[in-house]
């Protein structure tokens, strides 16, 4: 593989890992728990900004990195403290929003409230230039562990490794939740909040938990991305970006980790890369717009023809192989005191 190809492949792998992590986080909320978090991208941005201001150093004239940009705080914490801090900020930010949106509102209104929160966040960051350098965004964000690799290509592969470590940790977390009795309770809430509450599930607290953990994962994905690309501005986290991730989940298969992984590679990575190879046509920005059109069409097509996605949610059985059931012969139920299950079906 030539150096250029290696560089391209490693970049794709890193983007892929970031988008898989983000989609798994969103899937914990949407696929498992049924929360429509239209502010998801804001939590990714919160993680990215946190990691940025914690590594850029103090915002002073003497700091060559921050000479032309203004931001709050500013520190040079070692890696991976910046990522942990990002996750923490993602969690802290979830509480005030979750308490308002998840407590009192019906799910469709929750979605609208989240969308509004996302818009407000973008507006605030753009308007208050002293906060996170407004519209221009932050740049020259230092790459972590840059000295550990001699060449740029070597560093690319190192960052692929770092991304894979985070990917593995996030997979472990969400798989553990999903396989635990907790995962079952979350899916029960997704199916019917009232029935779950009637069985003693504290719906608000469980939904809040999924919201917080999902947003922490979003923040981690943001930190991972920003420390690789080195810059971050409001244009990168406008609200439609949430729909790209949501689309990836719908196309891949909500509540299925493998499906979501495939969706995350197809949509946020695959389409944006695929569009890159299109010949330039139409006015400026038209090819970029094609990306969103494609995503929209794909989401509608999947909702219509394959609503469970490419790899549908797995049916959870309990070591109860189907072949071990004795086949019922017609009339077998008559011999027992009770009609067979199929006869009971007549009643329905």
């Amino acid at each position: 593989m030539s150096n250029a190809t290696q560089f391209y492949v490693t970049t794709l792998l890193i983007y892929g890992a970031v988008s898989i992590i983000a989609c798994w986080g969103l899937d914990l909320q949407f696929g498992d728990t049924g929360i429509l978090n239209f502010a998801f991208i804001m939590f990714q941005a919160a993680g990215a900004y946190t990691a940025a201001v914690l590594t850029l150093g103090p915002s002073t004239q003497s700091n060559p990195l921050s000479n032309y940009q203004h931001y709050v705080f500013g520190a040079s914490v070692p890696y991976p403290v910046s990522v942990f801090a990002a996750a923490l900020v993602g969690a802290l930010l979830s509480y005030p929003i979750g308490v308002v949106a998840l407590r009192r509102l019906r799910s469709d209104y929750q979605a609208v409230a989240m969308l509004v929160v996302s818009l407000i966040a973008t507006t605030v960051v753009i308007s208050d230039t002293g906060l996170l350098d407004g519209e221009r965004g932050l740049f020259l964000i230092p790459k972590p562990l840059r000295d550990s690799a001699d060449t740029l290509l070597g560093y690319q592969w190192l960052y692929v490794g770092i991304s894979c470590v985070f990917l593995a940790v996030v997979l472990w977390v969400i798989a553990r939740i999903s396989r635990a009795p907790l995962g079952r309770s979350l899916r029960a809430i997704r199916e019917s909040e009232s029935a779950a509450a009637a069985l003693g599930k504290n719906v608000l607290s469980l939904r809040m938990g999924a919201f917080v953990v999902g947003n922490m994962i979003a923040a981690i994905s943001g930190a991972l991305l920003v420390q690789y690309i080195g810059s971050w501005s409001p244009n990168g986290w406008l609200y439609p970006e949430t729909f790209v991730y949501l689309g990836a989940i719908i196309i891949g298969g909500a509540a299925n980790k493998l499906g979501v992984l495939i969706g995350a590679l197809l949509l946020p990575v695959g389409i944006s890369e695929g569009v890159r190879y299109l010949p330039s046509f139409g006015g400026p920005g038209f090819v970029d717009a094609v990306q969103f059109m494609l995503i929209g069409v794909l989401i509608i097509a999947f909702m219509w023809f394959r609503p469970r996605g490419l790899v549908p949610e797995r049916r959870r059985t309990f070591g109860n192989p189907r072949w071990s059931f004795r086949r019922r012969t017609p009339g077998a139920g008559v011999a027992t005191a009770m009609p067979s299950a199929d006869e009971q079906g007549l009643a329905g």
Binding site: R184, L199, K201, G209, V213, N320, M338, G345, A347
Partner: protein, 262 residues
């Protein structure tokens, strides 16, 4: 569940006083008081629109009354949310089937198990999987035995949403039983169940009562209520018009009038 000691039977377990509720300007429940004694099986009957389901929703904590109080085991639970009541043994079923459609039948039953290790975000990361699985194994045995009793073991791994209407009703009762109720509130549990199964469901409810579960059920089939229930509460137009035995209720003028008028 173990049978109640003889002296416990008949002790008041739930006492609701002057419950009221209205939808916009319509008073659907108007000063309803109900006393329920431990270990008995009660029928809550009345014509359509009498406010029975609303009373049940209030007792289960799913709706907040605009007036009145509810005491359970001597504790004022008026302001308790549904999940807290459920954790203390007040378990209800719904008038319309409310199964977890995209969970299997077995999963529906397992969700109900109280105090299952690994069921909170903290426990997922602090308790070993062995502990969840051990407890889950015990619950699975119980769940399979319950399904077998109603000839539904072949449906164990089917999605609950794919069951027939009657099977969904049975699943809902079994799910409530898995939650280890002390007071079971059943909203029309027999509606839509095949007539041949009704008797076995009734037998099962009697058995639960013997084991010490107190039951309050809304039911339209008065013959069933007569053979099954120790006592009935009759409601009409948002008020309680009679408390006592079904035989007695049949002779009361106001009860007959309510049914004729309703």
């Amino acid at each position: 569940m173990s049978a109640l000691p003889a002296e416990a039977v008949g002790r008041p377990i739930l006492s609701a006083r002057s419950l009221s509720h209205s939808f916009q300007a319509v008073r659907v429940v108007d000063g309803v008081s109900i006393d329920i004694d431990e270990g008995r099986l009660y029928g809550l009957i009345g014509p359509n629109g009498a406010g029975k389901s609303t009373v049940m929703n209030i007792l289960a904590g799913a709706q907040k009354p605009i007036g009145g109080t509810t005491h359970y085991g001597g504790v004022d639970i008026t302001r308790w949310p549904a999940y807290r009541r459920a954790r203390h043994g007040v378990i209800r079923t719904f008038q319309l089937s409310n199964e977890f459609a995209r969970l299997t039948v077995l999963e529906n039953l397992l969700v109900a198990v109280p105090n299952q290790p690994g069921d909170t975000f903290r426990e997922v990361f602090t308790t070993p999987r062995r502990r969840w699985n051990r407890r889950q194994g015990e619950s699975l045995d119980r769940a399979r035995a319950l399904l077998a009793r109603f000839n539904m073991e072949a449906k164990a791994d089917d999605y609950a949403g794919d069951l027939s209407g009657g099977q969904k009703r049975i699943l809902e009762i079994l799910r409530a039983v898995m939650a280890q109720p002390r007071l079971l509130l059943l909203d029309e549990p027999l509606a839509g169940i095949h007539p041949r199964i009704i008797e076995s469901v009734c037998d099962y409810l009697r058995e639960l009562r013997r084991e010490g579960v107190t039951i309050l059920m809304i039911e339209h089939e008065l013959e069933v209520v007569e053979t099954l229930c120790d006592a009935v509460v009759v409601m009409a137009s948002g008020i309680v018009i009679f408390r006592g035995s079904m035989t007695e209720a049949r002779q009361r003028r106001e009860v007959i009038d309510a049914y004729v008028a309703g």
